[in-house]
Amino acid sequence: MKNRVVITGMGVVSPNAVGLDNFEKALRCGKSGIRFISELEDLKFSCRIGGVPKNFDGIAKDYFGAEEQSGLSDNIAYASVAAIDAWQDAGLVQAADNGHPDWDSGTIFGCGICGMETIAAKVVPTVNAGKVRRLGSRIVEQVMGSGVSAHIAGIIGLGNQVTSNSSACSTGTEAIIDAALRIRAGLAKRMIAGGSEGASPYTWGGFDSMRVLSRKFNDQPDKGSRPMSASACGFVPGAGAGALVLEDIETALARNSRIYAEIIGVMVNCGGQRDGGSMTAPNPGGVVRCIRGAINDAGITGDEIDAINGHLTATFADPGEVKNWSAALERGPESFPYINSTKSMTGHCLGAAGAIETVAAVLELFRGFVHPSINCEDIHPEIKPFADRVVRTCLDYPEMKTMAKASFGFGDVNSCLILRKYEQ
C-alpha cells in the first residue's frame, strides 16, 4: 500500500512573473517574459533574447539580509525564494534558528548547469590571476552540485533527505517524481521539490554554439519563443525556479491544509540513446514508454487525460513530441487532449523548466483553466491536424480533472507526471 501524495504549497520565480498570483495572471493573459539582453549582443551571441526574472534583486531583499544575499548566486537565490514561498503557501513555518530540524521534511531540488555563473565570473578569473585565497568562504557552497538544496534546507530547517538531482531539461519534473516516490514509500511526510537555473551567458553559450537557440526574433523578443509554430527556430534560454510542497495526504488532511492537486502517476526513464535517440534527441519509443508508464502508475487510461502541459521547446522536436503523445495516449487528432507550452511565455528555463511548468499545470488544474500557448498562430504543418487542440487563447475548463506533464532532456532522459484535481 503506497501513501498518496498531494501538493499543498507552491512558489515560483519565473521570467514572466514572480509569485503565484502574478504567475497565474501572466499565464491567463499570455504574458511573455522574454526580453532583449544587451550583454548577449556585446558577446556576439546569435540569440540575443532571454527569459530572466525581472527586478529580482529588489524582491530578494525581502527574503535575505545583505550579507546573506551577497553570497548567493542567482540560481540559489531563485530557488530559495521559490522554496520559502512554497513553504509559507503550504501554511508551514520555518524551524527556529536555535530550534530543532523538521526530521519528517526534506527537499529534492535540482538544477541543470549549476553554478556556472559563479565558476565563470568568479572562480576562473580569480584563480587564473593567482589570487585563489581571495575567493573567500562562500564559493564552494555556490558551485557544489547540491548548493541549491543545501541552502533551502538551512533556511527552512529540513531534517529529512536533502539532495539535488540533475537530468538536464528533465531535472525539475524528475525532482518532483523522486520526492513523490520518497513520500509514497513512507520515508518522508513532506518534501520541497523543484528545480532552478541561473541566468548567464556562460550557461547559454554552449546552446548558442549548437545553433539550437532562437536567433531570428532578436528585434521582437516577446515573439521569440514559438513552440509548435511553423516559424519556430530554436528555444529562448530562460532562468528562474519553481518549488512545490509535496505531502503525505494523511499529514495534509490532519493539518487541514489546502490541497491543490494529487500526484497520481509518475515515471522516469531513458531512451538509452538508441532507436533514433542520441545525446540530444529523444528515442520516440522511450518517450512513449515514459508517458504510458506514468498513466499505468496512475491506474488510469489515456482517455482520462484532459490536458497536456508539454515539454515543447520550439525546436525541430516539437512535431515529434506531439506525435509521441498521440501514440502514447492512443488518441489521434480527433480525440486529442488540449495541449499547451508554458515555454511560449517563459522561454526554456532548463533545470527549472519542469518545476515552473508543473506549477503552471497545477494552477490550471486547481483554478480550472488552460493557459494559452502563445506565438503559434502559424501552427507547424506537422502539428496542423491537432491545431484545434492547441490552446491559443485562455480556456475556462472547470471540469478538467486530469493533466499530464512531461519533460525531456539531453541524455535522452524522460519524466512524466499525472496530476489529478483533488476531490474529497
Binding site: 539580509g65 545583505a66 550579507e67 585565497r133 581571495r134 573567500g136 568562504s137 562562500r138
Partner: protein, 86 residues
C-alpha cells in the same frame, strides 16, 4: 593609526557577519570572534580578506590561523601597518 581607531574600524567591518549585533556594542579586545560573537567559523576567511582590503595590508595564513579575539586581529593589523610605515 591608533589602536582604538583600528579597533573601531574592525568592529564596523565585522558587523555584517555577527548575528547578535548588540554584543558588538560591549565588545573588547578580549571578545572572541567565533565563541562570543557567534560568527560562522567559515566567515573568518572573509573577515580577513575584508581587513586586508580595508587596511591595505596582507595577513599571511600563519597569522590568520592564530586569530581568536578582536584583539588578535587588531594586533596583527597594527603590526602590519607599522612594518609598512617603516
Amino acid at each position: 593609526m591608533k589602536t582604538q581607531e583600528i579597533f573601531d574600524q574592525f568592529v564596523q567591518l565585522i558587523k555584517k557577519y555577527v548575528k547578535d549585533v548588540q554584543k558588538l556594542e560591549t565588545a573588547t579586545m578580549e571578545t572572541k570572534i567565533i565563541d562570543d560573537l557567534k560568527v560562522n567559523s567559515a566567515r573568518l576567511v572573509d573577515i580577513i580578506i575584508n581587513s586586508e582590503d580595508a587596511f591595505d595590508i596582507e595577513i599571511d595564513d600563519d597569522d590568520a590561523d592564530q586569530i581568536r579575539t578582536i584583539g588578535d586581529v587588531v594586533n596583527v593589523i597594527e603590526h602590519k601597518l607599522r612594518v609598512t610605515a617603516s
